[in-house]
Symmetry: C2
Subunit: 741 residues, 2 copies
């Protein structure tokens, strides 16, 4: 009853969802599919992220504000954001069946947040109009939209990891608290009656709750060794108490927290990845069901190459015909012209493997001036530039440059030498462009070439502007000078790429970069909540005066801080007076928890806020972050050492070998062009084409995670399908891969 | 040519070595074997440890001393120690072949240390006699003796782990230093010219080396947020620099250090354990070769039960005949009366499994007064005490007691209530002794019963002494009161045992206890070296005055510290003036690295000492410690969750089941006596005997380590033998274990 083009549209959506691991169970009616395609359109997603950013950044303009805007302006913008989110939600509701929509806690959460925000806005607006003080409490809910409205799978997964680890963490935390309380009681009994004074002259360890708090802070190491000095001065034996405390609570318990978090993290992530893989296979199987044909001579339904080509062209319009032929040859390894379900299901993973199309191509100068370019001096230059000594020479120049940067730049000799270095760096880039094919030099994968060129060019422009300003207007712009300095120093980073040992570590760090961004979002969500609460609790309690001669400067504008170490150490700018300074303060609190100033200006119970922050950020989130870095490095180490290959990589490994051999035969490696997604190249020159797998690169965080846990996933789990498709099919094995010329 | 008794002696030594994982390749001549047995005698080992302790503790009595002894006294004691160590070494040299002796770097190290110490003593003694100042530099070498002279396998293994991890750590450290240097350069260029001042009024970030040091300290979080406050006050944008720095260097690099250390630790430890297992099998095979007999009807040489019994009796004279019969039945599973090499090799592991002999025995009171003990009221008491409510009631009493402890004990009501609580605790213990068989109650494995009784009895004695002193002499001894308080608070720990979730965590912590002691030794070795060097560098630069009215008290006796934060914060007692305060200071430095005071009183370069300490202790040793705790917890989690059993435990599992069933039949569990190593019990009452495996306990750290990595050791590796015995034999499988009645 449905037209073939609609069939193809549906299949395309399934394959595309499988490829990008989207997990939306949309209605398969033609209209819903069309709406669904619109829902996934990049423009809508960008718009959504934009409005979430706008909504979050409203905190900058609301009281207490960095730049105060009138209430009606921020309210209006917030209303606009709410409308956009509602529209997005309605769109989503149209795409999936109503039952599924109301079952998903995510949607309930969004609706609740939107309603609550609206209610709060109305209450706040009317009370404000009546000049009654009230709190915009719904601002705390804003980050929930970042978590739930977007397709932020990584972020939601991180939250789920944390939620799943919580029971385990909770029991260890109880034991930790018990240990803390027992130690505090002992401290009270041992030290409370000795009439000791701390350095500020107050009684030392006489109040139980104060001791509990001080010992908790000792776990964060923030008040070490101050907290033990009065006891140590009274008698050396008391240090045994503190050393035992530090050993048990700071070292052992904190390690146990890491162990518990790491263990749950691994366990639940593995389970999630397994479900992801199952869902992917299910979607591919549904796509196959839509497209399958019954051919004579085949007992099973099959897919023709034409349909397959059509689908791949729809899903990935950017890949070349040759690349598509390569993929087909991998699927149809027996060269039958049709493939079964088993081979088709692999397509989602195949499409995620980044294949680089290599094409041998001579240097453009060789085409233009062949005699000159191939002359003896020109060849000498090429050999020189390709020599290892060339790299070493420029590394040495960079090191000399580092010394010159360190010296005083007001010395004319030093400041003029900068021109020399810039010239040398320009020369290096030009020489490399002379020797290597330009398009290959600036290929998408040549990170360091791009880095070099951008840094050197920007430094050149900034230096020229700077000296133009200096000679014409006679003054130096501090901002431009700062940029010049930063660019100069960044240039030095280049050195690490020359040393192989460093490159491995750096590459691992770059590879876990996207995942670190997920943790960045997580941190932003938590920080935002704490910043909003903190601003309500502590705003304008501590003030910073730019002018240090201001009479209130010495005590941060709050008489309660007179003589307090908080004011004495000049921490006045560490305050909750606006969202930016709150964020900076929260970063400081993450590193070292110091909050006595805020307890002094408000109430002792304010410490609860800071302890809570420490528990959430340091004990939970930082530990999850450390667990992630550990796991990523272990994967890297085991891959680098044992040459362990994932099943996906293995499949194409043989092809890569074939390419490598061809390369050796052609001996054209240096003149090779790397084109990715080159649509314009004619396909007539096929023998010059080669394929290379960017095996060490992973497009998505999911792929990295999948690789992290793939070894642990039972291979039989691949075979299981979630719902209606209970039929199991084998995991295809690609023992022999044919090369179609 | 050798007599059978000598054969047995040699075999015994091999088996015993295999059991305790001793790795000494002794000469197999009768005399060497006799010497070797003497070498392993516990008295000699205790003596050796005693002299090592004496040698190390000489630092307390040498200048700068806690208790100064004359030079001749310490010199004489040290000479005595050297003689003892030399004697031990000579003894060792007689035991093993000379070639092996000179090949072992351990022995070379000992000889070098002994020689150097002697030379240093002579030089120092003569220079001191001539009143010329000189340094006793050889004291730094003393901890090397702790590492090398003793059979401190764990300690040497920890050192080897560290040595093996060093290359990896080194490359990451270089990259970290590069990052530090680049960030420092950027800080110099961005902030150096802005004429900023830090809180003490000195120029801020103008000197490159100073910046490098400050940023290094920021990694330890010791100077956060002070180091960034001047820049933050000048402009909020500068915090981006610091936040990036903290993210990269404090969080990412420190996690990478942990990952690298953890990875190497696991890898090399696994290799060591594999070699240990191989060496063990080799020794067992040699023991078999000595004892083997050729029986008719057997193609392979075998061992008779008589020889086997003889050997086991020699190696473990403490186990009962029934236990030995059990072990034999495990080895000789086909009931042939003889066993082959394969079964014999298992013996070393079998002996290491702790088997508890259970024997049903009525309560002694039941024997004495059967009518009273079995009367209805007595039975009611038994039921009450065994009820879960009894435990809960006493947990509540403990919690009430905790509140009372927290209240002011000078209130007579509170201080008298203590007698009530003590009476309740005594009642609890007496009731339990009434209900449970006393020997079972105080069995070796009932940790908490021992703990309770000891704490309550000591508290009772201390409280009685205290009140006796108070009523007779009219004064309260502070020391006795302290002991009373500590005991009272320790009693509270009892509560955790009642909650199952806590018990799992606590048991894991108790189980990794011995291994933590190894790290304790490691820390002592490193601290000792740094303490000795620190004392030479900084002794008497900073002085502490007990009397706070002393004129020099305010600046720690050093005018250079006038107005310095070190003196202002009252850190004067943190000094290197003797070995005890040095150790306490080093603990503080491990937690938070603060050393500006010492750089001020000596030279800026003194900071190198503190940075070096941080690198060695925090980056290397603490990370190895964390890695160990992580690994131990993962093993616990996987064992607790998946019921994964090691191959050794599995073998006896079926037997344990048999015991458990028997238990259920007899229904005598509560009246059961747990006897370990009960030699006096007649063996006639066999049917009452039961065996239980203390499967969760590991006698040696080696066993825990072996269990940690056993899953990863290739089972085929068990088969390989190091040296001459290249013949491989199968790993025995004990599918069916017969019970010999």
């Amino acid at each position: 009853p449905v037209s073939p083009s609609l069939d193809f549209a549906l299949a395309t959506v399934f394959v595309s969802d499988a490829q990008y691991n989207r997990n939306i169970h949309f209605d398969s009616s033609p209209q819903a599919v069309r709406l669904y395609l619109l829902y996934n359109h990049w423009a809508f997603k960008v718009l959504l992220y934009f409005f979430i950013m706008v909504n979050l950044s409203l905190a900058i303009f609301e009281e207490p504000a960095v730049f105060l805007l009138p209430l009606w302006a921020t309210m209006l913008v917030e209303l606009l954001c709410l409308i956009v989110f509602t529209a997005r939600l309605v769109h989503y509701a149209k795409v999936i069946p109503p039952v599924k929509f109301w079952k998903d806690p995510k949607n309930i959460c969004i609706i609740a947040v939107l309603t609550l925000t609206l209610v709060d806005m109305i209450i706040y607006g009317s009370l404000e109009a009546a000049k009654i003080y009230c709190v915009r409490w719904s601002r705390v809910l804003r980050p929930l939209l970042l978590v739930n409205v977007t397709e932020g799978r990584q972020l939601r997964r991180a939250f789920r990891s944390i939620r799943n680890a919580l029971p385990q963490i909770f029991y260890v935390f109880l034991l930790f608290m018990f240990s803390l309380l027992v130690f505090s009681l002992m401290a009270l009994k041992l030290l409370g009656k000795r009439n000791l004074k701390n350095i500020e002259g107050y009684p030392y360890f006489t109040d139980y709750l104060e001791i509990v708090f001080q010992l908790y802070v000792l776990v964060t190491t923030a008040n070490s060794p101050d907290v033990m000095m009065p006891a140590y001065n009274a008698g050396s034996l008391f240090t045994i108490f503190f050393i035992l405390y530090i050993l048990i609570n700071t070292y052992i318990f904190m390690s146990v927290f890491l162990a518990v978090v790491y263990n749950s993290y691994k366990k639940y992530l593995k389970e999630e990845i397994r479900q992801l893989v199952r869902a992917k296979r299910y979607k591919m199987a549904r796509a196959f069901d839509v497209l399958q044909e019954q051919k004579e001579g085949c007992s099973q339904p099959v897919l023709t190459q034409a349909s397959w080509n059509h689908i791949v062209r729809q899903v990935r319009p950017d890949i070349t015909d040759a690349h598509r032929d390569l993929l087909w040859s991998v699927c149809d390894d027996k060269n039958q012209g049709v493939i079964g379900k088993v081979a088709f299901v692999q397509l989602a993973d195949l499409l995620n493997i980044e294949v680089i199309t290599l094409k041998s191509r001579p240097h453009p100068l060789q085409n233009l001036f062949p005699t000159i370019y191939l002359s003896a001096p020109s060849r000498l230059i090429c050999r020189l530039v390709q020599h290892r000594g060339f790299v070493i020479a420029f590394d040495l120049i960079i090191l000399v440059n580092a010394v010159f940067i360190g010296l005083d730049e007001e010395n004319p000799l030093i400041s003029n030498s900068e021109w020399g270095f810039l010239a040398l760096y320009m020369l290096e880039i030009l020489l490399k462009l002379y020797v290597f094919e330009p398009r290959s030099f600036f290929s998408r994968h040549s990170f360091w070439n791009w880095f070099d060129t951008l840094i050197v060019l920007s430094a050149l422009i900034a230096t020229i502007i700077n000296s133009a300003l200096k000679s014409s207007a006679g003054y130096t712009s501090r901002q431009i000078l700062d940029i010049v300095f930063v660019l100069r120093v960044l240039r030095l980073i280049r050195v690490v790429d020359s040393i192989k040992r460093f490159r491995i570590i750096i590459n691992t760090l770059i590879r876990i970069g996207p995942a670190i961004l997920t943790f960045g979002q997580l941190i932003v969500v938590v920080y935002y909540v704490f910043a909003i609460v903190g601003m309500e609790l502590f705003k304008n309690k501590v003030k910073f005066f730019d002018n240090s001669t201001h009479p209130e400067h010495a005590y941060c504008g709050n008489p309660l801080l007179k003589g307090h170490s908080f004011a004495q150490l000049g921490y006045c700018k560490n305050n909750f007076n606006n969202v930016v300074s709150s964020f900076i303060l929260l970063v400081e609190l993450t590193v070292v928890n110091q909050c006595d100033g805020f307890a002094s200006v408000t109430h002792v119970s304010a410490r609860i806020f800071f302890v809570l922050f420490h528990i959430v950020v340091v004990i939970v989130i930082i530990n999850i972050f450390v667990a992630f870095v550990l796991e990523a490095f272990f994967v890297e180490y085991s891959v680098d050492k044992s040459q362990l290959q994932t099943s996906l990589e293995k499949k194409i490994e043989e092809l890569e070998l074939a390419v490598a051999q061809e390369k050796v035969d052609d001996n054209l490696v240096n003149a090779m062009e790397t084109i990715v997604n080159d649509l314009t190249t004619g396909q007539a020159t096929k023998p010059n084409l080669m394929f290379k797998i960017a095996s060490k690169r992973y497009r998505t965080v999911d792929a990295l995670l999948q690789r992290m846990f793939e070894a642990d996933i039972d291979p039989e789990d691949f075979a299981e399908i979630d719902e209606s498709q209970a039929r199991s099919f084998e995991n295809p094995v690609f023992d022999t891969v044919l090369w179609r010329g």
